[in-house]
């Protein structure tokens, strides 16, 4: 029973990793760049939600929706104004650029909101439900349900909507998409905004657990492990990878005595490195094997 309890908790935190990893994957599939600032966008989302809900006293649902819109617009302009300028430069430049952006966001957050730890009230805080002796908190439930809804919406969007299909087309082949009359630049900015919105949703859902401060941007790094495990470039892979990382982390935390001290904090990174060494294509990669030299 304890094991099932752990797995449920792990799935909840894993969903957050999965959502952030989803953001990486969307951007990577489209533009073959990795956004190292994803975790910082998550942090920004949590802070904006804190301002709207905690400070301005907005309704939770309203505040949530407005936060997502604000961050989505931010993501759109982040691509169209800043990141687009370095298209055509080696990948190193993008890595450095997005790391720099991450630092600016983190610095900005700690200047504007301060370095205190904040929290805001949500309809889920502090409530739990019991099911066959399993204790499930509403917060964890909200995370799991939120992830399921978001992933379904994204799935429908990419499968049936015109813009969604255009996005898949531009990810598949930029040049051909241009020839078909798809506004590829606009589509890429839109992908950035979807990816930022996903991070913001993850941030707001996560806020009741970790509370809001600048250190939650580190989740972005653990989400890398999720994305790599899922086979960078696969959307279901990102979510499944995230859930596996979440469960592994919970298990390592509980059975620490059998392993070695402090294994919990680095378990995600260990999984990442082991994946890269043993099975670098990841679990769900639908493409050819990761290029090896």
């Amino acid at each position: 029973m304890q094991l099932i309890q752990l797995i449920i908790d792990g799935v909840a935190s894993g969903c957050i990793y999965g959502l952030v990893a989803l953001g990486f994957v969307l951007i990577y599939k489209a533009t073959e760049t990795i956004n190292f600032a994803q975790g910082d966008i998550l942090m920004l989302g949590a802070f904006v939600a804190f301002s709207l809900i905690g400070v301005l006293g907005m309704d939770y649902i309203m505040g949530f929706a407005l936060t997502v819109v604000i961050i989505a617009v931010f993501g759109f302009f982040l691509d169209s104004v800043v990141v687009r300028q370095i298209i055509g430069q080696p990948p190193f430049a993008t890595v450095m650029l997005t790391i720099g952006i991450g630092f600016i966001l983190r610095g900005f957050a700690s200047i504007y909101w301060g370095t205190d730890i904040f929290s805001f009230s949500t309809p889920f805080s502090g409530k739990i439900t019991e099911f066959n002796g399993l204790i499930i908190s509403y917060v964890n439930l909200s995370i799991i349900i939120g992830t399921v809804i978001l992933v379904s919406v994204l799935y429908l969007f990419f499968t049936f909507s015109r813009i969604g299909v255009a996005m898949r087309a531009s990810s598949e082949n930029q040049l051909a998409a241009y020839y078909m009359g798809i506004p590829v630049k606009f589509i890429f900015s839109l992908i950035w905004s979807i990816s930022a919105a996903t991070a913001a949703i993850a941030g707001v859902l996560l806020a009741p657990i970790t509370l809001v401060d600048t250190s939650i941007s580190l989740i972005g790094l653990k989400a890398f492990a999720a994305a790599v495990l899922g086979g960078f470039g696969s959307i279901p892979g990102a979510i499944v990878g995230g859930i596996i990382i979440g469960i592994v982390e919970q298990l390592c935390g509980t059975y620490e005595n059998y392993l070695f001290e402090g294994v919990r904090e680095i378990s995600a990174y260990l999984v990442l490195i082991l994946t890269l060494i043993i099975y670098p294509r990841g679990l769900f990669s639908d493409k050819a094997e990761v290029k090896k030299v």
Binding site: Y28, T31, E32, T33, I34, V82, Q85, I86, I87, G88, Q89, P90, P91, F92, A93, V95, M96, L97, I99, G100, I101, G102, F103, I104, L105, R106, G107, F108, A109, S110, I111, T115, N173, Q174, T214, L221, F224, A225, V228, F232, G233, F260, E261, G262, E265, I266, Y269, L270, L272, I273, L276, I277, P280, K287, A288, V290, K291, K292, V293
Partner: protein, 357 residues
Amino acid sequence: MRFIFKTNYAQDINIARHGGDKFWYSLLIILMLAMPLIIDDFYLGEISYVCILAIAGIGLMILSGYTGLASLGHAAFLGIGAYTHAFLLTNGVPFFASIPIVVIVSFMVGALIGIPILRLTGMYLAIATLALCFIAEHVFIKWEHFTGGNRGMPVPQPEIMGMSFYDSATFYYVCLAFLILSMFAAINILRSPTGRAFVAIRDSEIAAQSLGVNLGLYKALSFAISGAFTGLAGALLAHYIGYLAPDIFNIFLSLTLLLLIVVGGMGSLHGTVFGAIFVGYLPQLIAICRDYLPSSIGSQPGLEPMLFGLILVLFILYEPLGIYGRWVKIKLFFQLFPTYKKQTFKKQKVFTKSDRV
């Protein structure tokens, strides 16, 4: 404009290209040697720190600037160097025996880490090194027997020829000597076949492979050499800090090193020195800026990472060649005046080569 008329092949790989180079670099070395007579102890310490940063910068420059591999985990090598050195000194190994051991250990660690990871291309390396940085920091905290854990570890200050490291002039000369040695070693590595293989890998992996460069081997070698230089810098850094704590070697330090090479100028050894001066004096610069800002902003601890990120972004966007690139451009402007063309340094764009075919 100076035109060098080459009369034999050796001129292609000469360290000093012409008499002017010899004159100015000799002058620089004389000036650096006379530095303790000119300025006081505080600034001497600062310059020692800049020398240490420059050595670490050389390490990262060989990996990122010349081989084209991004590493976000070089703080781990600084940490390995620092802890190994401190551990050896504590156990009575003399300074000049400890340094080569540190270099060899960092080289071996670099090779060990490099062999499995460097078989992967592109972004995966950046992510894997990021993970390594966290794991290393964690090991420094938990391996208490070796590192003292969170309590920290004092670094013994040895004596060299009767001169103590507490004397900042002695320490300055040691740092300067190692910087000059590292610089010569790096120049020689880079003009050897090994170094040319690195540059070939950076410019085109496919072309390099077609010419018979063993990609996996040379990438691992580059990682190991880079680790060795950074480990050496770590050993000197241990003396500069005096008391080692695991949280010094965090991700922020790795990023500082990356800032160093980007600001200095990717792909130039001059750039490491310019970058080291910039990064070494950045905290002072920020401290000065704080005084001019309204206190509500100026007193915030978040100001430093924010400016740090801003500088990084601005350099990437507007001067990807860094300070050294700017210097080359200015020099050429005057040499070619009035016929300088902006397009000379225009970057050729490479379009997304899909590895997903």
